[in-house]
Amino acid sequence: MARMNIVEAVNDALRLELERDERVILLGEDIGRNGGVFRATNGLLAQFGERRVVDTPLAESAIVGAAVGMAARGLRPVAEIQFLGFIYEAMDQLAAQTARLRFRSAGRFTAPLVVRAPYGGGVRTPELHADSLEGLFLHSPGLKVVMPSTPYDAKGLLIAAIRDPDPVLFLEPMKLYRAFRQEVPQEDYTLEIGKASIVQEGTDVTIITWGAAALTVKKVAQDWQGTHGVSIEVIDLRTIVPLDSQTILSSVEKTERVLIVHEAVKSGGVGAEISALINEQAIYSLEAPVLRVTGYDTPYPVPMIEDDWLPNEDRIAKGIEELLAH
């Protein structure tokens, strides 16, 4: 075991897969000599050389499009998009090309690639660096979307993503990159994509969250247990597509109260989808309406107000109070 933070866990996963599988190739902007703007690929150029760790020209669509061509021809490319907010440049290549290659070729061609991208608020970035855009890709059948929030999950899920036969969008919460360390096995291991984790068991309220919001949720849940005696179950989805509806529904049946917390804008996103799922399959278990604490339906705001815009501890606490009032 080694104590790692998320960015070290990502680096470790990439290194192990580059060592294990000659077909793995890393592409991205500034990932070579610079080691990535967050140092996620630190040291990999030195260890594996320019053939395997490639500083590409600055063009997101081509990074993803190249990965599609490579993957279709038998390689296992892992592309880094420097910030998820830049993914709009590659929207066709990711949502229209990568996602549907297997489908439109009736299985003749596949795109087993990974696109990694940091995202998430609270770090005072310039515009279009912090947006949580997972909802866009919930609407892109053929893609898997993985959003870990701990070093252990990040390593196991990234290795699983690289070995997955389908394309995976792997989103890394930049505020959590160095937020804490955790014991992580030094050897390679995989975690199942599509499996949520119950990070805290409880009986009164279920909070469903993922990625960047998860750390704040866990803190609030622990505080409430201690100070208010409310037993909160926290589900960290870890994977958005495919969604682990089983874990969600079992918890809803147990606690009968559900709060969904995510950083993305409120409407039409993953939170709305989970709420609809509960509505369709577990509505008679509910003692209160399913509530959401999320970003607002504005563009991601400027640094001066982002802490108020994000689902912070106060807003999550209010959500719990409202649920319990029913």
């Binding site: 053939r51 081509a62 061509g69 490579m70 038998g74 439109r104 070729s105 003749r108 599509g194 495919p242």
Partner: protein, 349 residues
């Protein structure tokens, strides 16, 4: 020093003139190869006419005619080796056929089958692209894979003049040049992107000269001159195999509509069409072959009959292909059906 557009002079390479008369050197291509290529062109023209007819009868959905571009497609694809890869757009049935696509498979896409864009194993043709220029990037990635795996293969991105305006086209050329990939960007400049003429597509006098900005070589060829295209492509392949990407502009013309849903009389003059009909690549080749005593009307009639029968049989085969079923739409979304999708599939009963 200012760079001026007029600094660049681009000639158009050709072997035959518009009447099919040799000007300049003999191309040194075996007679049987020339005849074989000519037969491919005939097949494509006949296929195209048949497909449009079938669409009018309601037996085929939207179809993108290729007539007029036979020389560009046959001359380029015929020069490839089996292990090379092509990344076609939706108007590349000619190149796809020459590179090994079965005729009947080409009917499946416009018929609306789920497997319409699924070339058989062993045929190195990528699923035809719908989004303009998107395949340039896949070809580039494929060429990169060939280089990475040290395989002697080239990848060819087939695009049109409209595609050269897209960001993906630019990005693909740029990446390919930086990485020194075995790739050929084969641009068929057929003068029209639906209703927009090439003069409104770019202020460049030629598309070939764009190669220079990427630091690679380019060439402009008469795309209706089969022998010229073939010769150019042979040289392009030679360069690409050395890790030198090439941009080829084949100047040609789309004689038909953009698709069967398009009416070209809304945007182009009859006189222009007639002007290009006079430069028809098949007629030109035929007169060359007849002049060389390699072909005659009797052979032509016999070949046309044979090809029409082949097309009719493949159309029949395509029509007899079992209809796609909604249940099958779930089969190739992911390798393994996730639970939520399985639920949706199961709900179909």
């Amino acid at each position: 020093m200012w760079l001026e557009p007029d600094d660049i002079m681009v000639d158009t390479f050709s072997v035959l003139d518009e009447k099919g008369r040799l000007h300049g050197e003999e191309p040194h291509i075996e007679a049987h190869q020339i005849i074989e290529m000519y037969k491919w062109m005939l097949l494509i023209r006949l296929f195209d006419e048949r497909a449009v007819k079938m669409q009018r009868q309601g037996r085929l959905g939207t179809y993108a005619p290729v007539s007029g571009q036979e020389a560009a497609q046959v001359g380029s694809a015929y020069a490839l080796r089996k292990q090379d890869w092509i990344f076609p757009s939706y108007r590349e049935i000619g190149a796809a056929l020459v590179h090994g696509m079965p005729l009947s498979q080409l009917f499946l896409y416009p018929m609306g089958h789920l497997a319409g864009a699924s070339p058989p194993e062993g045929v190195n043709v990528f699923s035809q692209q719908i989004i303009i220029a998107a395949q340039s990037l896949h070809a580039m990635g494929s060429a990169w894979a060939s280089k990475y795996l040290e395989k002697d293969e080239v990848s060819v991105a087939y695009v049109g003049d409209g595609a050269t305006s897209q960001g993906d086209f630019h990005e693909a050329l740029n990446f390919a040049a930086v990485q020194r990939l075995p790739i050929i960007f084969f641009v068929q400049n057929n003068q029209w992107a639906i209703s927009v003429p090439v003069s409104k597509q770019t202020a460049s006098r030629t598309l070939a000269q764009k190669a220079l900005a990427y630091g690679i070589s380019g060439i402009r060829v008469d795309g209706n001159d089969l022998l010229a295209v073939y010769r150019v492509m042979q040289e392009a392949i030679r360069r690409a195999r050395q890790g030198k990407p090439v941009l080829v502009e084949a100047v040609t013309y789309r004689l038909g509509a953009h698709t069967t849903a398009d009416d070209p009389t809304r945007y182009r003059q009859q006189s222009e069409l007639e002007n290009w009909q006079a430069k028809d690549p098949i007629r030109r080749m035929k007169s060359y072959l007849m002049h060389k005593k390699l072909w005659n009307e009797e052979l032509e009639e016999k070949e046309v009959r044979r090809l029409e029968q082949e097309i009719a049989e493949s159309f029949k085969q395509a029509e007899e292909t079992p209809r796609s079923r909604l249940q099958e739409a779930f089969d190739h979304v992911y390798e393994t059906l996730p639970p939520s999708l399985k639920e949706q599939k199961d709900s179909l009963g």
